[in-house]
């Protein structure tokens, strides 16, 4: 296990005041909050920052951590001493329902309080709690509909009252035409209820894997289509990939780079189905031989064009 430097994570000095720690935390929490941040590692950073703050904002935990940390360097292998924790009583009270995801380092120091706390309500007497999960699917899954496997970590109670995590694998039908951010509700698949009480529901939020070719906007699909100058000038019929397979697309005579052509109904299915937009992107051939160059010069002579006329007014 590696030692974590919570001060470094928050970017504060070892003698930072409570106020400084809070300000540093707030600033980083805003920056890395997974609902707001565009950083790719936002979720991991946010957790790390939350964990650091949970320790440093709590005077008991901070004193204990400081004693432990003297002489250890961040990233070094580290095992808490056997008498660790003697004389301290951690009153918990951190977290919310992110607390169950603190690191092993945290857990070995301050126990799995967060984990137990969050698992607890699953075993109460009333109806079972609803659970939430996320699933990453491909655009093709949404287009065709699919069955996808999702693995959940479910806390369960052992006969002697301890909490254990059990893996549960579900095969879930992905409805055709589902869009990014939409949620599938599976009734009765959440936490079990108390005696005679219904189980909670499971909500699965869908996200799309980035696609090699397409961009998505709601039900509409965007594809960049490279074309040659002669296809643009003279018009052409070209094969274009869509989620439903290749289709013929007519490029109009005199097409321009950046022009958007619509393939109606070729986006994600639905009522109404989305469209696929093909954005033309002209590729200029590079003259490689003297003949190639002559051809371009001939074109310049034959077809004089001033595309900058509009700038000269």
């Amino acid at each position: 296990m590696k030692f974590k430097d919570y001060y470094e994570i928050l970017g504060v000095s070892k003698d930072a005041t409570e106020g400084e720690i809070k300000r540093a935390y707030r600033k980083l929490a805003r920056k890395y909050h997974p609902d707001v941040s565009k950083e790719s590692d936002a979720e991991a950073r946010f957790k790390e920052v939350g964990e650091a703050y949970a320790v440093l904002k709590d005077p008991e935990k901070r004193v204990a951590y400081d004693q432990l940390g003297s002489g250890v360097h961040p990233g070094e292998d580290f095992t808490p001493p056997p008498d660790w924790g003697a004389g301290f009583e951690f009153s918990g009270g951190f977290g919310g329902d992110g607390a169950e995801q603190f690191s092993d380092f945290f857990e070995s120091l301050f126990g799995g309080g967060g984990r137990r706390r969050s698992a607890g309500p699953g075993f109460h007497q009333g109806p079972g709690r609803d659970h939430h999960a996320k699933i990453l699917i491909s655009l093709e899954d949404s287009y065709q509909g699919a069955t996808r496997t999702i693995t959940l970590q479910v806390p369960t109670l052992t006969p002697d009252g301890h909490v254990q995590t059990r893996q549960r694998t579900l095969n879930v039908t992905i409805p055709k035409g589902i869009r990014e951010g939409q949620v599938i509700r599976l009734a009765g698949q959440g936490a079990p209820g108390g005696a005679g009480q219904p189980a909670g529901d499971l909500y699965i939020e869908v996200a799309f894997q980035p696609h090699r070719l397409y961009r998505v906007d709601g039900r509409d699909i965007y594809l960049d289509l490279p074309i040659t100058p002669w296809e643009a000038a003279l018009g052409a019929k070209v094969k274009v990939p869509t989620l439903g397979g290749k289709v013929d697309l007519k490029i109009p005579r005199g097409a321009k780079s950046g022009q958007k052509l619509r393939l109606r109904g070729r986006g994600l299915p639905g009522k109404p189905a989305g469209d696929q937009y093909v954005v033309l992107e002209m590729v200029t051939p590079e003259p490689r031989t003297a003949e190639d160059e002559a051809l371009f010069r001939k074109m310049a002579e034959q077809m004089p064009l001033n595309p900058r006329a509009v700038l000269e007014a």
Partner: protein, 106 residues
């Protein structure tokens, strides 16, 4: 460790699906008053605010849960969160438009 294998077809919560206030409370793990406050702040909109009991479109769930996370983690009030969510939606729209246009200017 046991493994349970089932094939399940759920209900898609799109704009045609509706959730009751109770559904939403349970799915968010909060009391009614919290959601009532969200409605009062204009953060959540029932299908018809004058029609009791309130019903919500399926996408309200995601909005409500995001709001609750922001409140818990950043201690922003619902009025502030309503503004954050509106701005995030606007950023999303702009980024989508930007990605669409990028190809033209590369």
């Amino acid at each position: 460790m046991s493994t349970q294998l089932t094939v399940l077809a759920g209900v898609l919560l799109d704009e045609n699906a509706e959730l009751s206030l109770e559904d939403l409370c349970r799915a968010c793990g909060v009391e009614r008053m919290v959601l009532v406050e969200m409605v009062q702040e204009g953060l959540l909109e029932p299908v018809d605010v004058r029609l009791a009991p309130w019903r919500f479109q399926g996408d309200a769930l995601r909005r409500a849960r995001t709001a609750l996370r922001l409140r818990r983690d950043l201690e922003v009030n619902f009025a502030g969160i309503a503004m954050i969510l509106d701005l995030l939606d606007e950023i999303d729209d702009l980024e989508t438009r930007l990605r669409r246009l990028e190809g033209r200017f590369e």
